[in-house]
């Protein structure tokens, strides 16, 4: 029974996607759309197959940069959340600066960072960290404060130390929010890494995208877009998987529905 609902959940979106691609293909053929305006899915696929080694190389480069950025960003985010949570006043003091960093458009910030730090890895990492740390820090901070009041009261009554409250209650209670933030970060980071490469890189999918777009190679542009979307989906999937591995105490709401009654 459970597998049936699982099937339906996977089948429906997949079906929509296939339909979308078919309609696209049909439009391109019937209306004879110029390939440099909108290439048909089949010709994009052909292009990707032909250019596969190069695409894979660029994707690998982008993936490594994104992982470094996400790793650093998440580390900064967790550290910021803990700092703000544990030391009163820090949050109020630093909030304006952090809000400002989140409101500067990447397109404006990127070139500035390059002016300041050159074309190396550093400006790209700074850009990525700025984008990645915020969702993690803010959701985790909310989670740390939202621990069940009756559990907090229990720990106070038995005289638990600040460290015990953090480790036994607040950290585990903040995990679901942390992962909400991580999933957001995982998605944003891919966009951010593309922007970073766009601004100044000699490799990576972002760089490839710039080249193809300057050469009006629309098939190439679409190939890059597909790689980017795939990367973003993979990042989100990885974050969701980590969440399932880390949070195992919650009674599953969806999965065993059918299984139990059978």
């Amino acid at each position: 029974m459970a597998s049936k609902t699982g099937w339906r959940r996977a089948l429906l979106p997949a079906g929509t996607l296939v339909l979308f691609v078919l309609v696209w293909e049909a439009c391109c053929r019937l209306l004879r759309v110029d390939p440099w305006i909108l290439p048909a899915p089949s010709s994009i696929a052909r292009h990707m197959a032909e250019d596969a080694p190069r695409l894979a190389g660029q994707l690998w480069f982008t993936l490594r940069l994104a992982l470094k950025g996400v790793g650093l960003g998440v580390a900064f985010g967790v550290a910021a959340a803990l700092l703000f949570h544990l030391i009163p006043g820090v949050r109020a003091a630093l909030s304006p600066i952090i809000i400002i960093t989140q409101n500067i458009p990447l397109i404006a910030l990127g070139p500035l960072l390059i002016v300041w730090f050159g074309f190396g890895l550093l400006p790209k990492l700074i850009l990525l960290v700025l984008v990645c740390f915020f969702p993690v820090a803010w959701s985790m901070l909310a989670g740390l404060g939202q621990a069940e009041p009756h559990l907090r009261e229990y720990l106070a009554m038995i005289g638990a130390s600040r460290w015990e409250v953090l480790r036994r209650l607040e950290l585990p209670a903040s995990l679901p929010s942390f992962f909400t933030g991580l999933k957001l970060t995982a998605t944003y980071s891919v966009t951010a890494v593309i922007v970073a490469e766009w601004l100044g890189a000699s490799e990576g999918i972002g760089h490839y995208l710039v080249l193809k777009s300057k050469g009006y190679d629309t098939e190439g542009v679409f190939s890059a877009l597909i790689c980017i979307v795939a990367l973003a989906l993979a990042f989100y999937g990885a974050a969701a998987l980590l969440e399932r591995l880390a949070i195992r105490w919650r009674p599953r709401r969806t999965a065993p529905q059918g299984g139990k009654s059978a």
Binding site: H150, L155, A156, G159, I247, W249
Partner: protein
């Protein structure tokens, strides 16, 4: 048990008020009470009279405005870490196994990690919950969770156990079950207990002594010694003396309420 020995817990003229709408709102009015070593003492009073507030003062989570709290023969007013505690909601940590819930509380009370783990599994086995020791608490029923919560309080090496309406959220059958279970376990272990309930039967069935509190601001209306011998049968409520005592307490509580209305 000598009468001369200092009580495990002693409150002397403890008062507390909160501020509500910028005006003082008295909750506790010069409460004095004590719990001797190995004694089961119950506080009974209408809900909202300030029993949980009194526990917060004993636990050191808040300070009384006046009066002192002495635990284990030492003044501990406003100090935490001298009691073990069982609240109305089981308050087990959902991300820890049943055994880890118990052993982590023991380490807070200064028990070494290995000893805590050993005690937890040994006692879970003893109360028939050995099978679920490694499970997360959500697989347990409400009654089972309260058993674990009680065990957690019992095993903490602290001078007093404070139980705040531990059975109030359970259905009547489970509740009667739990009372009998607790009676058995406590009579074997004899810890010093301060128990809060608003059920008169529960108070009379379980305790050696009880304090009847008035409606808020709470005062001690009367101290009553419960005369039934130990070990006590769970069906002690059938005795005529039980019925008389119950009526006496009921009358006290009602009179307290009337006095309030008269003001």
């Amino acid at each position: 048990m000598s009468e001369l020995a200092e009580p495990k817990l002693e409150l002397q003229a403890v008062s507390k008020s909160y501020v509500r709408d910028k005006r003082p709102y008295p909750v506790l009015d010069r409460i004095s009470l004590h719990v001797r070593e190995g004694e089961f003492v119950t506080l009974i009073g209408p809900s909202g009279s300030g029993k949980s507030t009194l526990f917060r003062l004993i636990g050191g989570v808040e300070r009384p405005d006046e009066g002192t709290v002495r635990i284990g023969g030492r003044e501990t007013t406003g100090e935490r870490g001298h009691i073990s505690y069982m609240p109305q909601q089981a308050s087990l940590f959902p991300w820890m196994s049943v055994a880890a819930n118990i052993s982590s509380a023991l380490t807070t009370a200064g028990v070494g990690a290995a000893e805590a783990a050993r005690l937890a599994s040994q006692w879970l086995e003893r109360i028939g919950l050995g099978d679920v020791a490694k499970e997360y608490p959500h697989v347990l029923s409400g009654g089972m969770q309260q058993r674990v919560s009680f065990l957690r309080a019992l095993l903490m090496p602290r001078d007093v156990m404070c139980l705040d309406e531990p059975f109030a959220a359970l259905d009547a059958l489970t509740r009667a079950d739990m009372q009998a279970w607790l009676l058995d376990l406590w009579e074997a272990e004899r810890r010093s207990v301060l128990f809060v309930t608003h059920s008169i039967e529960e108070a009379l069935t379980l305790s050696d002594r009880l304090y009847v509190l008035s409606r808020g601001p709470a005062r001690v209306l009367r101290e009553i010694a419960v005369p039934f011998p130990r070990p006590r049968r769970a069906d002690v409520w059938k005795e005529p003396a039980f019925v008389r005592l119950k009526e006496e307490v009921l009358e006290l509580l009602q009179k307290g309420a009337e006095a309030e209305h008269a003001l």
